[in-house]
Symmetry: none
Subunit: 121 residues, 4 copies
DNA sequence: GTGGTCTAGACCACT
DNA sequence: GTGGTCTAGACCACG
């Protein structure tokens, strides 16, 4: 479940995976997250690392903390949806720039995407 | 022209940009690259950084060094094309995984790509 | 009505709000305070938290407990007034230090205060 | 120079003091900050604490990091000024609310401020 | 020498 | 038991 690569810091990888879990509804609005300590055990990391991973999620209001009680996914669906859209758009944008830089035009990109999708069936 | 972020080492960012310039023919097969010194000035970096960036390009045979004469883009078109294909496929693959993780299906992806392309006209 | 932030303990925030209510006469001298239980319900907190909040109010004599009868605001007006003055002065003092640290001089402060007051009319 | 109280975390106190130094021009735009290690020695804290204090300053763009080179105050005067204004307004706003909650009206506040200022001459 | 990451481990306040 | 803070100390990549 939790596998990390060396290219980017562990805390960022954890952060991203948690964002994905919130965006895709694995962690639902209002859900209580596993405790910092539990996440540390689960990911085989140090609680401090988890803390760092969660910190930014709080400043962007995806989660909130109830002291002595735990951390909770925001109940504001709009925040989550806005985030989902923002991240998707960023990735689309970045991808298109990369393809442009590689001189691959849109029809070719679409062909390649369909091919790949076909392979996986 | 040369802008760097803090998330990945500068030498890798330079490396990638040089690869792109070769792949897309801004640096053509057989061309002489700017000198390490000039690249360092142009990118406002240390010559050591440029050296490191070029090193791997040489080991993967995209460029070759002629002793006192400078560094040259390979004249072997196949190497360049193989590279172009490899990088494109990697990016396609990574992109599809990201979209899958975000629960965005292929038709939607294609729609979004076309939208973005439309905006830029 | 009762909103709390995470930066300071809830019991202190409740304590401060109760002090304000006494100082400004929302709870008048001699009034009976709502029961610990009721305050807990009203603030959606634990009765222990309310207890802790009230404890210090008692040691500084702003309120007193009548065994089985409840807690009452002191009837000694001087105590209340002394408190009002003390808190006001503390806040004034702190505020002036902050403005000094920000290099904002007194005339500017007064201008800004008047502006703000004007906006709210 | 560096004295801390127990009411709020050390890293926040350091953060605030650094913000003040930037806002008031003790650290000028473009200046290099003391290194993390040096600040740690100076404040008699751990480098991690300094890191935490500086982190948010970076996300709000008051400072930027040049890897292996140090951290620098932004050269964008507008960011600094915007910040100065924002912080001042927040403090004014908070102060006025406190005074209102204490039933102290504006003329009285101004009188008290002038008194205090007079005392310090 | 610079910042960045991570761990282990401790202590604290709060409920 | 919860999150938050802090320290000591280590290792790393970068330039």
């Amino acid at each position: 479940m939790w596998e990390f690569n060396n290219h980017s810091p562990i805390y960022l990888q954890i952060q991203n995976q948690l964002i994905l879990k919130i965006i895709t509804g694995i962690f639902k609005p209002g859900d209580r997250l596993p405790s910092v300590r539990d996440l540390a055990v689960e990911t085989k990391t140090n609680p401090n690392t988890i803390q760092k991973a969660l910190q930014e999620l709080e400043t962007i209001a995806l989660i909130s903390t109830q002291r002595t009680n735990g951390k909770f996914v925001t109940e504001d669906l709009k925040i989550i949806q806005r985030f989902q859209r923002k991240i998707t758009e960023e990735k689309i944008y970045k991808f298109m720039n990369e393809m442009k830089a590689l001189n691959v035009d849109l029809p070719t990109v679409i062909t390649l995407l369909k091919e790949k999708a076909g392979e996986e069936r």
